[in-house]
Structure formats: C-alpha cells, structure tokens
Symmetry: none
Subunit: 412 residues, 2 copies
C-alpha cells in the first residue's frame, strides 16, 4: 500500500498528519503502508508520482487535490497516469447541486469540476463536503490493483476511507494471514511507564503479537496486532493480550477500541441515571466542550459556568471573597468551592471544577505556570486535587481536562 | 530540491515534522522543496527512492537511517543508488571514539558503522550526536548534483543543515532568485468562492507570484509566494499582492500570517477596552474554549454559561418559558434572549450565544441537524442570525464557533 499526498502546502511548511492517520488505520486493518510521497499541486508531478506508485504497489491511496479550484489537479493527474479520460457525471453534478441547494447557496461554477470522474472509477459519497472520492480497480496478472482518490480535509477523508475504502481493502488484500488489532487506552501513565509495565508481555509475545505505544494529549494508546493462521487462533491471541494488559495496567486502562475518556465517563453517568455540571476557569470551556462532544450527552450533562473573571466566580458560583483573598483563585479551597457552587447552582449530582495557570504568563514562584487544581463534588463527598502540568498553554489546558475527567471516572 | 525521509516509524503512525522544517528553511533561503518521500528502513526501498530522486532533482536531501543499529541502512542505500562503495574512514572512527571517551562511555561495536562514508563524499560534523552527515556532489551536463545524508533526530539534523548544507545550497543553486511568502486568512467564503474572487489576480501574476488556497474548519487560507531577482523586487511583489487581495476580499480577509480569528477578535476587544461573555448550548463550551485559547484573554473575556438543559437556560439566563414553549430552544428568539441574558448576567459589553442541533440525532423536518442560531448582544443593539451548517457533529460545532466569532468581528 502506498500513499500520495497532494498539496503544495505540504512542501511549504504545513505538517502532514494524513500519513500518520492512514498508517494507523491500515495497521489496525492488518495492512501496512510501504511508502509515502508528497507532491505539489502540479498535474505533471501528480501524474509522475502516481505512475511510479502504480508500477510498484497494489494499492495507491491519494489524498488532496479534489477541491473545486484551479489548483486542485488530482483528477487530471490520475487520469493521465492511468491513460484514461475524465467524464462529467450528471448524477454527481446533481448531487453537488443539491448540497448547495440544501444550504440555500448558489453553486459556484468552479464546483462543476468535482463532478468529473476518472473513466471506469466509482464515486465514493462525501457527506461532509462537496468532492466525492473515487475508487478505480484494474485486474492484472499480479492480482487486482486499486487506486483511490480522497479529498484533502481530514473531516471529509476519514469517513469515506473508513466507510468505503478500508473494508474493501481488507476483503481484497488481506487473504491468508489473519490479523486482529486491539487498541487499549490508558490515562494517568506516561508513555515510558506504560512501556515498562508491559515490557515482559511484549517480550513473551514476540512473533505472535506486535505492540506499538502512542502518546498524545495526556493519553496513551497501546495497539496490539495478533497474527495467526486462522481467525480463531488470532482472536484467541488477542484475548490473551487483553487479559494480560488488564492485569498489568489495572484502573489505568479506561477503554478499548474507539472509546474516549469523555464517552466512558458519559456512559457511566447514563447507566447510573446521574447528572453532571462543570465550573471552569483555566480550561475556559474545553472541559464542557469535551463532555458535549458525545452525541446524546444532554442526557446527563446539564450545563456549566466558564468563570474566567473573579467577579463571575463570586457572583455566579458563590465563591467567598474571603477565599479568593486568602488563597487566590488558583487554590485547593477555590477548586472545592467552585465544584460545590456549580453542583448546587445547576442542580446536578456531580460537578467538576478546574482552576489553574495555563500560561504562558501569570506564573509566580509560588504558583508557577502549569499549577492546576481540580475539584469534584458529589452528593456525599467532595475533593480537590493539585496537579503540576507541563507544556504550552494548549497542552496544559488539554491535560487539565483529561485529569478532571479521570477524577470523575474513578469516583464513578 | 527533493527530500527522502527514512524511517519505518513514519509509516506506522509517527507524524513527520522534518518535511515542514526543511520546507520552511529552504523557502527562507529562496529554494523550494518539490517532492518528499517517506520510506521504511529497508535498503532496497531506500536505494530505489534515491535512484528516482537523483533522476529528477538537482538536490536530494535524506534524513534518518544513519544510526548505529541493524535497521539504520541509509548509507548502504545511498551507496547502492550512486553505484559507489562505502569506505571506513579512520579519522571519522577516531572522532566517534573520542565522543564516547568524553562521555565516559565505552563505544559499542555497532557505532563503527557510523564511520563508513560513501566514496567521494565529504563528512559533515555532528556536534549533537555520533553520526556524521555526508555531502556528495557530482558535475553533470545539466549542472551540479548534490546528495546530502543527515541524521534523523531533529537536534542533530538542524545544526548540520543550517551550518553546512543550506549556505552551500544557496551559493550553488539560488543564483540570484529571491522568494517571499505571505499567508492571507479569510472567513465567510467557501474555497471555491475565494478562488473566483482572486482568479484574475492569479492569472495576472503568473510567473511572478504563485498562489495556493487551503480550506479547513470553516476558514480559508491563501498563500502567495512572490519571486524576484532582488529582495526589494520580491517584497514589492508581495506588497502588490496584499493590496490586490485586500481589494478583492474586503472584510472577508480577517488576518495575515499567524493570525487566528479568535486572536483578531480578542485584539479588537482589547483595543476598545470592551468585554465579552458567551452563552452556549450546542457548542457546549467550544466557543469559550476558543476565545480563551489566546494568552491574556482574561483581559476581555469575563465568562460564560454552558446552558445545555432548558432548565439552566431558564434559571441561569432568564429565558422565558413562554419563548421555549412557542419557539423551542433552537430558535431566533431564544438565541436573542440567550445573548441578552448572558450579557446582563455577566456584566459584559458584548455577548454571543449559540443554540442549534449538532446531531447526529435530534433533527426534525422543520429543524434539521445543522440548524444553528447565533445571537449577538451589544450595548446598543442585538441581532440573531440563522445558519444551516453541514457535516458531522464536530464540524457543525466548529463551524458554529467560527460563525459566532465572525459575527462579533464584523460588529467590532
């Protein structure tokens, strides 16, 4: 499998995150990415890169260059590489027109180009944008060859790839060897700590299970790919890994597969029929935003207050001016009062609060950047915890939301 | 100039940040990266990628695969691609040995490999690690060709590149050409609309300025790279582009360079000495989270309410139960009352509100998924706007925050 990323921006400074996405998604389907090329928005460059890729590989994935503008040239490059024509497909044009109509917008003439399909290709519907993907296959002596064109924006590319492309690749190319991948999600451990805890498991599974550890946003992900001659053998191998990881990681393991920390917490609340409120200072809405990223979160999330100014803390959440004077807004006492205040005010079973110094300014020797207090109030008890987080403003705010969600998860 | 990144980790999930670094460094030296390839740690793959690159390009940069272990194979791949031998250079070996001695460490036998140099290449000293870089040049009819091997870790690669390679490339290849890039940021236009508005500018600048258009998260970015024979001519070209874009895009242009929408809005508030509050239903905290992503936003952002339940809307923001009964929570009337309620409650000069249906569930024929109302209340006036947004839950929520920020930007 080979990937060609189209976009001049990838050669003038933008970081390419698509390769990492495709690599992970393919790996979890038992397929390996062998090569990646980034080319500018130039028809000749795209054509040459695709020609080379088609000479080498069974599957060629292409991302980007399907937009409506003059510099979206992947359709042209792919047609030239395959020696095929582009055809305007009336049904595709109708579908694009309908999208604009539904949005009460006139369709710019430029968008007509998105209805051009490589002769013989199948269109892949794009629910998040106007450019359809394209899938082209050819039977050769060496087996079937596949070329896939996908739009560049991640929010368009990922749904198409996961819905229409990955299942097709699995069916067509994975024959014989059985692979099964499990993703195990942990929090409260660093990557190197997770590595140490599972090291003997990794050694003992050599040849049968491959492990990768990935860290990001305060969370760690262990991916285990088991291989076997039969589906049954493979699944049994993965079950053994699951048992061993549960034992090695204990409560640090918060989920598997597509689980998210906010989803796991939400599911626990829903099952107990309990509700949540938040009071956020340094995270400024990110914690609530994360909780409400889950569809149906209105079943258990009632609302919250972003109390950025001290005035709002006092007036809206009943923090005593005395507490602010004596301990400051970034303090254990304030975190506790914020959580209790939010719980009472919103009338929820649980409330989380976050107050801290996200930086880059505002730190002192006593209260440095990264100092964060998280409060949790429930029906029977309340607590506040102190954290010293490292990184830039975004990272400190993200880590604070992770720590807050994890505190509630453990209480539940 | 072409880049080959060597490393299996780049094809199994790690994000490649080297390409972005090289692109920026080359651009600032007036050189352009034309192509990038990522290959796994396999001699044949490295050899083939380098062969292809040497056929196409004047300069081939290679990063990674110069370490001491069995899977560091760039030296072997490069020698094979050039049809040259590897030679153990005693002085290089002495230098590597001396490094270990200075660190009071025994030199592992594996590190001997780092003293192998491609026949005819020049070693580039590595002050941050043990593997020297290698620079090989060849004079052809088409001009001089250069192959550079650099170690993979950023802290080793960058000093060597900037000290020994970039000045050489500038001297040898730039022959008088100067480049300057400007980034122009717009909102409220689709990619294709932006394309239409600047098309005549793009046509008229051919050969002097190159344009790329990028869209993502409801925002559009135009990048213009001007070229000229002198720095002065190049900067003058970029100034002309700026003037032309300002005219073509008017108020749609919200910023340049590293500007963000939330940063631009914040700066306007700060300059006017005015303050902001928010009331969020469907965005659930994302709008506040975005406003507070800017360091120092506490100067103008006072706070907000995430009013997910109707109960919180009524009790905390004073929405009349009558409005909710007659129009529902997702309505223009409710958006207006939410903004006014938040403004009064928090005591801010301005307040934004968002209420809508982010989906995937909860839509009806009258109120489909993606229907969003945004309210803006100021000292003198208030307004509410209706939007029909497309995409999944995350996209609808993201677009809603962009529309809200832009409404305030225009009012300011």
């Amino acid at each position: 499998v080979e990937l060609v990323c189209v976009g001049t921006e990838l050669l003038t400074g933008n970081v390419n995150t698509h390769t990492s996405y495709f690599a992970g998604a393919l790996l979890s389907a038992g397929l390996r990415l062998d090569l990646e090329t980034a080319v500018p928005d130039e028809t000749d460059r795209i054509r040459d890169a695709l020609r080379g890729a088609l000479e080498r590989s069974d599957v060629v994935l292409v991302s980007g260059g399907l937009g409506p503008t003059f510099d979206d040239l992947t359709r042209e490059g792919a047609a030239a590489a395959l020696g095929r024509r582009l055809r305007l497909i009336p049904e595709l044009l109708d579908r694009i027109r309908a999208k604009f109509r539904r949005a009460h917008l006139p369709m710019p003439r430029a968008n007509r180009r998105q209805a051009w399909l490589v002769e013989g290709a199948r269109a892949l519907e794009n629910l998040s944008g106007s450019a359809p993907g394209q899938l082209f296959t050819k039977d050769r002596k060496e087996g079937r060859q596949t070329l896939v064109l996908l739009p560049g924006p991640g929010e368009e590319l990922k749904p198409i790839f996961e819905r229409d492309v990955l299942p097709f690749l699995k069916r067509t190319y994975r024959a014989g060897l059985h692979l099964a991948t499990g993703t195990f999600r942990l929090t409260g451990l660093m990557e190197s700590e997770a590595d140490e805890r599972i090291r003997s498991l990794v050694r003992g599974s050599r040849g049968k299970v491959e492990f990768t550890i990935l860290a990001g946003g305060g969370l760690v992900e262990i991916r285990a790919t088991a291989r076997g001659r039969t589906e049954k053998e493979t699944q049994a191998g993965l079950r053994r890994v699951r048992r061993a990881l549960r034992k090695a990681l204990g409560p640090r393991l918060y989920g598997e597969g597509e689980d998210t920390l906010e989803g796991v917490v939400g599911e626990k609340l829903r099952r107990r029929g309990e509700t949540l409120a938040v009071a956020e200072s340094c995270t400024g809405g990110l914690l609530a935003g994360r909780v409400t990223s889950i569809p149906g979160s209105s079943d258990y999330f009632l609302g919250g207050v972003v109390c950025y100014s001290n005035d709002v803390k006092v007036r809206e959440l009943g923090i005593s001016p005395e507490t602010l004077r004596r301990h400051g807004a970034v303090s254990e006492a304030c975190a506790r009062e914020l959580a209790q205040g939010a719980r009472k005010k919103v009338g929820a079973d649980w409330a989380l609060s976050v107050t801290g110094i996200a930086g880059p300014g505002g730190g002192t020797p006593q209260k440095p950047v990264g100092l964060v207090f998280i409060g949790l109030a429930g029906r029977r008890a309340f607590q506040a915890r102190r954290f010293l987080l490292h990184g830039d403003r975004l990272r400190i705010r993200t880590l604070a939301t992770v720590r807050a969600l994890d505190l509630l998860r453990q209480a539940l």
